[in-house]
């Protein structure tokens, strides 16, 4: 009996020692995840890769995993995308979303910076991506403060750069953002790097593509770029047009002139179009984007008008912005061109276009999309936290993609806001507060 008691005491002491030792072994002051227990390939850094497969499918579709390092970070990010949030977390998320700076209430010492070239009040996609980054940050006890900036698509690159500089001065520990002005942000990003602040861009927001003048190198000049392999995405768009149109005129559209995202996929789309397809707006050269809409609603109708006026028989479009395509359809009405015999390849998946598609019930009008990608901001936060914990982060966190054909199921008439991406991992309870009025 005495022996059993001694064994019991030893066992308890061993458990206590193991529990205490766990913290000490965490490299570099590893974040202890709030809501996720370390398991899988990143368990040494307190991250779980046991993501809910349903959420993976929702965000990405039935994709083949990307390289192991990227895929593990993606899984770890989605593992934190809790859908059943308590009211206190929801309230805190809304507070942070509506403020330039907020205290998460955890007492953590890490300060997260979020730098958006767009903004919550100018674009739904930006608003949701910002919220997803906040929700992800709230799963880390170590993050005690979130500081957010937004440039509201200001055409002056200095505004975007100054947002980064403000975050540096504010003493953030890392910055997640989307660099709308591309290489024009290079100096500010390098200043962040020099200050020891990791910068992570998401949504394939390269600070200049590798062969662009002045481009920075992820992994060297900044921590990493999260996003799809842009050339693969461009090839996927081309395949949709090749298969769906066969012969005829097609057009491609992009965002801000020369931005890395559009340039990256457009180059490969142009190269992969079948010989039977006539691209009505080829780029001037390989360093130029074409069909520049700036993703800016007032600019979009004019671009469609310019193309459709001369080429009313366009049978296919490739564009990364579904809501922009929805705006473009107004031009079809204005010009009296029927929406039929049309194939559209898109990256994002805003619901209003899909519901409009369902309403039209036109069998020769087909849309294919990849994923809205809002959740990539979550991946950015987790990649940065892993880096702070000492993990090796690949220069590119490659997000796999698959093209999905729009069906009636893709229109959710009860969606809280029609322009919110269907693949967003922001819970409806949060979206309701953001967009429910």
């Amino acid at each position: 009996m005495k022996r059993i008691r001694i064994i019991g005491i030893i066992a308890v002491l061993a458990l206590v020692a193991a529990a205490c030792g766990g913290d000490e072994e965490t490299p570099g002051g590893t974040p202890t995840p709030n809501g996720a227990t370390g398991s899988g390939a990143l368990s040494d850094y307190g991250e779980s890769t046991d993501a809910d497969q349903a959420l993976v499918d929702k965000a990405l579709g039935s994709v083949e995993p990307s390289d192991e390092a990227s895929w593990n970070i993606i899984l770890a990010s989605i593992a934190r995308a809790t859908q059943d949030l308590d009211q206190a977390t929801i309230d805190k998320a809304m507070e942070c979303w509506g403020s330039q700076q907020c205290d998460t209430g955890t007492g953590g010492e890490t300060v997260m910076g979020y730098a958006d070239g767009g903004g919550d009040t100018v674009n739904v996609w930006r608003a949701v991506s910002h919220m997803e980054a906040i929700l992800q940050a709230l799963t880390y006890d170590e993050i005690g403060t979130i500081v957010s900036t937004e440039a509201d698509f200001n055409p002056d690159p200095a505004v975007h750069a100054n947002d980064i500089r403000f975050l540096i001065q504010r003493g953030v520990d890392f910055i997640v953002g989307y660099p709308d002005v591309g290489v024009a942000l290079a100096d500010a990003v390098k200043e962040a790097d020099a200050a020891g602040i990791p910068y992570v861009s998401f949504s394939a927001g390269w600070v200049g593509l590798p062969d662009q003048d002045g481009a920075l190198t992820p992994g060297e000049d900044y921590l990493t770029v999260v996003g799809e392999d842009l050339c693969d995405l461009g090839n996927s768009f081309a395949k949709v047009l090749n298969d769906g149109v066969g012969d005829g005129e097609v057009a491609i559209l992009g965002g801000t002139p020369g931005n890395a995202l559009s340039l990256g996929w457009q180059r490969c789309t142009v190269d992969s179009l079948a010989s039977g397809l006539d691209l009505v707006n080829p780029p001037a050269n390989k360093n130029s984007t074409t069909g520049d809409t700036s993703w800016y609603p007032p600019a979009i109708p004019g671009v469609y008008q310019g193309l459709l006026t001369t080429n009313p028989d366009i049978k296919g479009w490739a564009y990364e912005y579904a809501d922009g395509m929805n705006i473009g359809l107004q031009t079809y009405e204005d010009l009296g061109i029927p929406v039929e015999n049309l194939t559209v390849a898109l990256r994002t998946d805003e619901q209003d276009l899909f519901c409009d598609w369902a309403d039209r019930n036109e069998p020769t009008y087909k849309i294919w999309y990849s994923a809205g990608g809002n959740f990539q901001s979550r991946v950015g936060v987790t990649a940065a936290m892993l880096s702070l914990a000492g993990a090796e982060i690949p220069a590119e966190v490659v997000v796999p993609h698959v093209m999905r054909e729009v069906t009636a199921d893709d229109c959710d008439p009860d969606r809280v806001a029609p322009s919110v991406s269907g693949t967003s991992l922001a819970p409806d309870s949060v979206l309701q507060l953001m967009f429910g009025g």
Partner: protein
């Protein structure tokens, strides 16, 4: 002693009118170029599609014209247009029953912005360029703040968007509104005492003050009425775009000014023509559309657009008047003492003329 002969009425009209000729010549050139390189832009369907956007720019330009006639300039146009647009969304709240309340609120708010501009510039004699820039920035801040109180990319009431996409006699109602406002200004400036006094203030504020015209009131009035025009343009643009957003007016900073100047007005104040200004706005919109249709890269579009504006300025307004005067002098040397119509006050004409 040399006798100064006053020019005949016909000659005066010809010389004054000549300042507005370049825009119509430019329009003809645009049509000619389009016929050769982008004939599709001249199809009825294409023109109908682009007309409402031209009208929006035209309405904003008419407001800017009133300010420029007083020798001022208004850089608060983008903010004021955005303000009107977001109020239409926010107050309209997606309800057709609230459309008129929303429009009235938008116009009233814009008029308040104009009143602030007018008091600071006309009343306190502060620099118009700086004041309107500053007020515009404040308004943009207010718009962003107000825009965050309702869901981003919220739509205007469907009644408004349906109306803007409708056709009246085959043409967008926004174009008809633009035409109506143009006629209103032509009549008001040319045939009413208020309009003539307003022009006199623009041409020569000192002389106007001496003869008892209330210069300050006229200057304030210019900014208020101009802001109302911006509001109308903002509401119309919101209807066209359906989900306008808080930055909807941001591309309307320089376009209205370019239209006024290409339309023959002098930036130093004085004469301007509503008809030529509206025509210049249509020209700029048409040019923009043609450049897109021709498939020019975005960078080249900006370059060509800028070059054309510079070219327009080189051959419009005071320069053309002086050129015509010079031509007349050379042809009629005995009338070399004819008083200059461009005037010695930086282009302010001595004769009131609205057209």
């Amino acid at each position: 002693m040399t006798t100064t002969k006053a020019p005949s009425a016909a000659l005066t009209s010809f010389v004054v009118g000549s300042r507005y000729m370049p825009v119509y010549i430019a329009l003809l050139l645009l049509v000619a170029v389009a016929l050769i390189w982008a004939p599709a832009t001249l199809s009825g369907v294409a023109l109908r599609a682009v007309a409402p956007y031209g009208a929006v720019l035209g309405i904003a330009a008419l407001g800017q014209m009133l300010v420029i006639m007083t020798g001022g300039i208004d850089l608060s146009v983008p903010g004021t247009m955005s303000l009107a647009a977001v109020i239409t969304v926010g107050v309209g709240d997606g309800s057709n029953e609230l459309i008129w309340v929303a429009i009235a609120t938008a116009v009233a708010a814009a008029a308040a912005v104009g009143l602030v501009n007018g008091i600071l510039i006309g009343g306190l004699k502060l620099n118009g360029l700086i004041i309107t820039l500053a007020v515009g920035l404040i308004v943009v801040g207010v718009v962003n703040r107000y825009g965050s109180t309702f869901p981003v990319q919220s739509p205007v009431p469907t009644g408004l968007s349906d109306w803007t996409s409708a056709r009246v006699l085959g043409i967008s109602p926004i174009l008809w509104i633009g035409v109506g406002l143009t006629i209103l200004l032509i009549v008001g400036l040319r045939y009413t005492s208020v309009g003539r006094r307003f022009q006199a203030v623009g041409a020569n504020p000192v002389a106007s003050h001496v003869v008892g015209v209330r210069v300050t009131v006229n200057q304030i009035l210019a900014y208020v009425v101009a802001a109302v025009f911006y509001a109308i343009a903002g509401v119309a643009l919101a209807g066209l775009l359906r989900t306008p957003g808080v930055a909807v007016g941001s591309t309307y900073l320089l376009g209205p000014i370019a239209a006024v100047v290409i339309g023959g007005a002098s930036l130093t104040g004085g004469l301007a023509s509503p008809l030529s200004t509206f025509a210049a706005a249509l020209f700029l919109t048409g040019l923009n559309q043609m450049l897109r249709t021709m498939g020019l890269p975005t960078a080249l579009q900006f370059v060509v657009f800028g070059v054309v504006i510079i070219g327009g300025m080189l051959v419009s307004g005071d320069r053309i008047v002086r050129a015509v005067e010079q031509l007349i002098r050379e042809r009629k040397p005995d009338r070399s003492q004819t008083p200059t119509l461009a005037g010695s006050t930086g282009g302010r004409a001595w004769k009131e003329e609205g057209m």
